[in-house]
Symmetry: C2
């Protein structure tokens, strides 16, 4: 009989009550992007603060220039318990088109979508009210059974995640001392599949760049000037074509500085997941991986940098034909970064790469579109190892350490403003239809997710 | 005392009267594209037929489904005189914006634009009423002095050249026997410069092609799929970049089949013209020829084929940034052809070139946008040699045989429908502002142009 057993039993016994609490929260249409729902956003924040107080948190609703934050504190079992900051968001996406919903978006319920598979329906059931309530319920069970939490816990729920989080950075800066913890727990991610929990240990960074190539001082007739006159589409195509070599590697000098090889045991664990080119690319109508040769599709997305062309335009693009040589052509590119790649250095290296290939009588203009470094936890970081074991104890299959192909801004913000890393754990599934009509959350995620967090809190405290 | 001398004298003596006749024609606002001027187009046609009758032509106005044609016939000095078809057009471009004109567009006059350089002002003064009246006046002088023309002459003036010539092909087909001559004289071109007359002996052909590359079945998030997913902009850029090698040559297999080297004496005559990269490219803000290495800019435009990219589009092209991997990307290309290059074969070779470079899980769609072979007179064709000598006798500098970078559809039509080649001679200058406000025609072109045609008619009859 461990300290954990009664906590897990408590969760099992009180599942219906925890579901009722989630339903209460889901009934509040806290759509942050629509000013008509501002009062509902506040209502959701107040509901949460009030509920957290029932768990013993010192909880409050804190004004911002937009929707309020919920901040709550709970001491740990002992003064030297680790201190975690749990982050989630109570706002939800709009529900248009409403007539596509099979059940009303703010009238949550339970539905059996296939034999033995029940789901919670409603906007926010997965993103992110369902996910954040898991943690609250795990704390409630700990508190009920032991009168204390195994870790010191600070909670931050924001209400603007679905509308760009304009108040978040100022709030972090202004409340640095209050919010700073040993590390953050972020619950906005998903499971690898229905049996396999996952921890996201890396997020790719990004460098966005727009390049405009200019040649002649005006558009030219391709009969009168075709041949002698420089064609900016040709110059741009050549530059873009030069960016990848025949093995799919990026040729910009210095691009791979700061990129590590993924540890072989991590690569091996990814291989066991059964995701290959066919399963990954099949659903989008493709079959041949376009990334670096000799690497798996999961490694390409989770641990390798890319250069992608997101847009290109030049010359005549309307219906029909025009024999024009354009005066300019432009492209939007993005580089996804991993490990210690430096966004500023990569931007500069790319610009040099372009200038080196530019005919002397042409010109180039660059427009930066954001830059952020990658996030990479050490695969053997203790808090990651502990959480992975806790998840593996709960689920049918061992937890896998994955990567995220895109960025999650809050993780960078916690690093920048609070100097702490984030542990990304969530129980959403790929078919949860977040941001779409008929959002759902598996009842199994809701139940075993609570148990998972109860286990993680225990593991982190040891 | 040759037969030519009195003809040239006649032209000199009656220059004012010939100018008055041109002014009468210029006063008629025969804008073909605007239905409001349909009656004026007919009026211009009738004016011309009537004027041609005063020269002894059997002339008539012939209805079409659009604006009428003027067709006129005059026998030659003897039954075995060569038979030429002279082509011009009496319609003009619109005059907007009218407030930019320094003199009213349909109130022709004489203006001194620099000391000793007088010009005829007005819409159509150069394109093409001024040019076509040169030939009529040359015929008038021959007739007045000798009672006959040295060649048998058929005249065809159309009234839809500035609006796509919709009636021309049907008219040529329906009147093949009447219009067929030994060769055509086309007066829609210009001089190389103010001292140097020119004959255009070649026109480049064209293959227009649109290529659409498709990869994933929908647009993708570049974070989630960047790396493994094929990016159609990358594929398209690579294909376009492959089309030219480092020497500016087109790499599509078989592309240069049917391309001849220009005779060295022709290249030498072009070298004497003083047009280099600086003079050709300087006015458009460029300085480095982008065509095949080792060839002059004039050769590039007049005698070499090209592959040009006229338009490209794919992904997000609006303001700001979007981290998307597009489902498709497309480009519009055109190939300028010379000599005996075959448009159909080049289109097929290009399509094969693209398919050879296409990943197996992507698809491509092609849209043809027209194709026409090049026109190339033998540089030593007798009628070309004779006309060149006649022009050289008239002007300060010897006539030069040039090429045209673009196409002139009538030349292909005469070849296709009437089986005859065209001699392209004109006296327009680069600063005539055709199609623009303040169109003009040098008085010197008008005077010496008449004399030039009188000489050419004489030369061709020998």
């Amino acid at each position: 009989m461990t300290v954990l057993s009664p906590v897990l039993d408590h969760i099992d016994k009180h599942l219906d009550a925890s579901l009722e609490r989630l339903f209460s929260l889901l009934r509040i249409p806290s759509i942050s992007t629509d000013p008509a729902y501002a009062a509902d956003c506040r209502k959701a924040a107040e509901w949460l603060a009030s509920d957290l107080r029932t768990v013993g948190f010192d909880a409050g609703v804190r004004a911002t220039s937009g929707h309020p934050m919920v901040v709550a504190h709970h001491p740990g079992r002992s003064p030297d318990s680790p201190h975690v900051l749990f982050y989630g968001h109570y706002d939800v996406q709009p529900v248009d088109p409403v007539d596509v919903w099979e059940t009303a978006p703010f009238a949550p319920g339970i539905k059996e979508i296939e034999p033995g598979r029940k789901v919670i329906t409603g906007r926010g059931s997965s993103d992110d009210k369902g996910q954040l309530m898991l943690f609250v319920e795990a704390c409630r069970a700990w508190k009920a059974e032991h009168g204390a939490l195994p870790c010191r816990v600070t909670i931050l729920f924001e209400g603007e995640e679905e509308s760009g989080s304009p108040s978040l950075k100022p709030f972090l800066e202004a409340n640095r001392d209050e919010l700073k913890a040993d590390f953050a727990l972020v619950c906005d991610t998903g499971m690898f599949d229905r049996q396999t929990p996952s921890i996201c240990a890396s997020l790719r960074g990004l460098v966005g760049e727009e390049v405009v190539i200019r040649a002649a001082s005006r558009d030219l007739h391709s009969g009168m000037y075709g041949g002698p006159a420089a064609n900016p589409i040709r110059i741009l195509s050549k530059i873009l074509a030069d960016i990848h070599d025949e093995n799919g590697q990026v040729t910009v000098p210095g691009f791979y500085d700061g990129v590590d090889e993924t540890p072989s045991q991590v690569l091996q664990s990814w291989e066991t997941l059964g995701t290959d080119a066919e399963t990954f690319l099949g659903p989008i109508g493709l079959s041949i991986p376009a990334g670096e040769k000799g690497r798996s599709v999961l490694e390409m997305v989770w641990a390798r940098p890319t250069a992608e062309f997101n847009g290109i335009t030049g010359g005549y693009t309307g219906t029909g034909f025009k024999t024009v040589i354009a005066a300019e052509a432009s492209a939007k590119l993005s580089f996804r970064l991993v490990h210690r790649q430096n966004p500023d250095k990569i931007r500069e290296a790319f610009r040099r790469f372009v200038r080196d290939r530019l005919p002397a009588d042409c010109s180039v203009e660059f427009h930066p579109h954001g830059g952020s470094p990658a996030v990479q936890l050490p695969y053997d970081a203790p808090f990651l190892t502990k959480a992975r074991q806790a998840l593996s104890d709960e689920w049918a299959k061992p937890a896998v350490t994955t990567g995220g192909g895109g960025s999650i801004p809050i993780v960078g913000d916690f690093r920048t403003f609070l100097g702490m890393e984030s542990l990304l754990v969530g129980f959403a599934l790929a078919d949860d239809r977040i941001h779409s009509p008929n959002e759902k959350y598996d009842l199994n995620s809701f139940h075993k997710g609570q148990r998972s967090w109860a286990r993680i809190l225990d593991a982190l405290s040891r």
